[in-house]
């Protein structure tokens, strides 16, 4: 099986076969062993010893811990990758990202109203978790299109708190 493995901007091709592994076409000396009763693998890669702990955080997404580092890796099977490349639709920009709760916590305050224009970096919502306040800011300029929460509300991680649309998109809609 051939995989497109992506870390950050770097994509490498890994082929996993019964008789071994190649990286970008070059055979590697790989020994990847489970350790009984422990969610850690021993990876000997060309004789270099790594302890690896990993979990699948999404479809084709892995979070790999090794050498005291955490690395997000996406692994896409080659045929799937090929299909995606030929069917990529032209995506139109949909405006700035919504404000999402980065952790479970409580909404202390909402600093905007629907229809407000926010600038990049401007505080939008203040959340509290573990008794610390965190200000959530807009990534880019936009118009507040919808507020999904109110002051005092408890929210789960990943909850969309405030929707933003890009300024030009909002104008086009008017």
């Amino acid at each position: 099986m051939i995989y497109h493995v992506k870390i950050g901007d770097m994509t490498r091709i890994v082929e996993v076969r019964r008789d071994g592994v190649t990286l970008d076409g070059t055979p590697l000396d790989v020994d990847f062993e489970e350790i009984l009763g422990v969610p850690v693998r021993s990876l000997l890669l060309g004789g270099r010893s790594h302890r690896v702990s990993a979990r699948r955080v999404g479809s084709e997404e892995w979070e790999v811990h090794l050498g005291g580092r955490r690395v997000s890796v996406s692994v896409v099977e080659a045929r799937t990758q090929a299909i995606r490349e030929t069917t990529v639709a032209k995506s139109r920009p949909s405006g700035p990202n919504p404000i999402v709760a980065p952790m479970p916590g409580m909404v202390v305050r909402v600093d905007v109203a629907e229809g407000d224009i926010v600038e990049a970096g401007q505080g939008v919502v203040i959340m509290e978790a573990m008794k610390m306040e965190n200000e959530l800011t807009a990534e880019a300029q936009g118009i507040v299109s919808k507020i999904h929460i109110e002051q005092g509300q408890a929210v789960e991680k990943g909850k969309v708190l405030v929707d933003l649309v890009a300024l030009d998109l909002a104008e086009n809609d008017v």
């Binding site: 099986m1 493995v5 870390i7 950050g8 490498r12 890994v14 996993v16 076969r17 019964r18 071994g20 592994v21 990286l23 070059t26 055979p27 590697l28 000396d29 790989v30 020994d31 990847f32 489970e34 422990v38 969610p39 850690v40 693998r41 990876l43 000997l44 890669l45 060309g46 004789g47 270099r48 790594h50 690896v52 702990s53 990993a54 979990r55 699948r56 084709e60 892995w62 790999v64 811990h65 090794l66 050498g67 005291g68 580092r69 955490r70 690395v71 890796v73 692994v75 099977e77 980065p102 952790m103 479970p104 916590g105 203040i126 978790a129 573990m130 008794k131 610390m132 306040e133 965190n134």
Partner: protein, 501 residues
């Protein structure tokens, strides 16, 4: 010596106190909230009693329940640890009132030092230098703005009742003051039940250096040298060391004497810490913590004095058996706080079950931990999982040892800040001892993911093999390589095996 102690705390400090008490032959009584049933402090103690549900206000903060329990189970003393009820004068008074021993100073001392404005006044009266600023809480945002203009920006807003970074805000510009004041006041109210805030000059690049003191009930007070805790984020310490890499022997003596004066000024009994900001040879009183500190182990490592043992002995009425001239610092110690926080995303708290924990061991390594495999890390409590502490012959040796220990450490199931510590140990300014409390602000690259080529290749291969296993739902597809010596030799000489195409 007292015969029994109830530990009104959880996590690593409860375990630390249990260890100390055990070594003194003191019966240990743990308390726990419902989700902490299988926490290490419950497993390690002689006895353990449930005191309520998860939320601290319904369990670890229920002073009356704890005192009742102590009386019922025949505990002679209560050790509050740090956090929770440790610096609540009313709790200490209630413990004393119930005829039990509070392991710490008197409630009057806690009250005096807990009120930051009162503490500053007392320190100024005892010739302990303080940071320029106000000694009174400001009434409202308008007054704060007026006072800030007098003191000069940047200013620091601090909760009068505070500690641990809560209710603290730095304000660089006048236009940010009102919002910061409101946030600080709200945070202070939520955390301490008191929203009053005071204001002082914000030093540009100070170091955080604190002095450990021990005072007995017979008027003897000594200091045990300093700890430098300059590496902080949002005023919470991450890395601590003893001794400081910057103090001269004269400065150490001067700060130590000031700390002893400060402790004596409030009739201090037990283990306490005087925190100072240090800049260019000047030092200023910051606050006094009237309890055991998180970072107490580095002092224990360089002085050989067991602080928890001495807390128990002093609470039992014993006299200090050594004087200032007996205190000697040997070698160098570093502590890294292992917290369940994701430093790559602004230190967001990470939660989950610890599925694997490999604790570093070996020469000069100490682990003060509050979690084990299977422990659930929730948002209910402090994110401090454990403290990794090393001791070495000198600072350089201690740094190497910490790097090695961090390499051994593995925590699976929750994110920790351990990778950040590894990078700090390798960073040039840290190695050179060029520190200030702005260290992390000045080294933002440490808070980004780094990507050494070899690690990235290993992660690439591991992820591909895991995804392959996952898709096929079976064990690793590749065969274990043969163990013939030639194969091993070849791997050693040609690390990437490229010769075998």
């Amino acid at each position: 010596m007292i015969s029994s102690v109830l530990i009104a705390n959880r996590g690593e400090i409860a375990v630390r106190i249990i260890r100390g008490a055990r070594e003194c032959g003191v019966r240990t009584i743990a308390v726990y909230s419902e989700p902490d049933r299988l926490s290490p402090h419950v497993l390690e103690a002689d006895e353990a009693y449930c005191i309520g549900p998860a939320a601290s206000v319904d369990s670890y903060l229920r002073g009356e329940t704890l005192i009742e329990l102590a009386k019922t189970v025949g505990a002679e003393a209560i050790h509050p640890g740090y956090g929770f009820l440790a610096e609540r004068a009313d709790f200490a008074a209630a413990v004393e009132g119930a005829g039990l021993v509070f392991i710490g100073p008197t409630s009057d001392t806690i009250a005096a030092m807990g009120d930051k404005t009162e503490a500053r006044r007392r320190m100024a009266d005892s010739d302990v230098p303080i940071v320029p600023g106000l000694t009174d809480a400001v009434a409202d945002a308008d007054e704060a703005e007026k006072k800030a203009t007098e003191i000069g920006y940047p200013v620091l807003l601090k909760a009068s009742a505070g500690g641990g970074g809560k209710g603290m805000r730095v304000v660089e510009k006048p236009e940010d003051l009102t919002r910061a004041f409101e946030a600080a006041s709200r945070e202070a109210l939520a955390a301490f039940g008191d929203g009053s805030v005071y204001i002082e000059r914000y030093l540009a690049r100070p170091r955080h250096i604190e002095i450990q003191v021990l005072g007995d009930a017979h008027g003897n007070t000594v200091h045990l040298g300093e700890r430098e805790c300059s590496i902080q984020r949002r005023h919470q310490k991450l890395v601590e060391e003893a001794p400081s890499s910057v103090l001269t022997e004269e400065e150490r003596t001067a700060m130590g004497q000031a700390a002893v004066r400060a402790a004596e000024a409030v009739g201090y009994r037990g283990a306490g810490t005087i925190e100072f900001l240090y800049e260019d040879g000047e030092f200023f009183f910051l606050e006094m913590n009237t309890r055991i500190q998180v970072e107490h182990p580095v002092t224990e490592m360089v002085t050989g004095v067991d602080l928890v043992e001495w807390q128990l002995r002093i609470a039992s009425g014993e006299k200090l058996t050594f004087t200032q001239s007996d205190v000697e610092l040997t070698g160098h110690s570093i502590e890294c706080r292992i917290t369940s926080e994701d430093h790559l995303s602004g230190f967001l708290p990470s939660t989950g079950v610890i599925t694997h924990l490999k604790i570093p061991t070996g020469p000069g390594v100490r682990w003060d931990g509050g979690v084990i495999e299977g422990s659930e890390v929730s948002l209910h409590y402090d994110p401090l999982l454990a403290k990794l502490v090393v001791h070495g012959a000198d600072r350089k040796a201690a740094i190497s040892r910490m790097s090695r220990a961090l390499e051994e450490l593995m925590v699976a199931g929750v994110e920790t800040c351990a990778p950040l510590h590894r990078r700090v140990m390798e960073e040039q300014d840290f190695k050179a001892g060029a520190l200030s409390i702005r260290y992390l602000d000045e080294h933002p690259e440490l808070l980004e993911a780094d990507a050494p080529e070899e690690m990235m290749i290993a992660a690439t291969i591991a992820a591909a093999l895991l995804e392959d296993e996952h898709r096929r739902g079976g064990p690793p597809r590749i065969k274990r390589p043969s163990s013939e010596p030639l194969n091993a030799w070849r791997r050693a000489v040609h690390p990437w095996g490229a010769d075998r195409c």
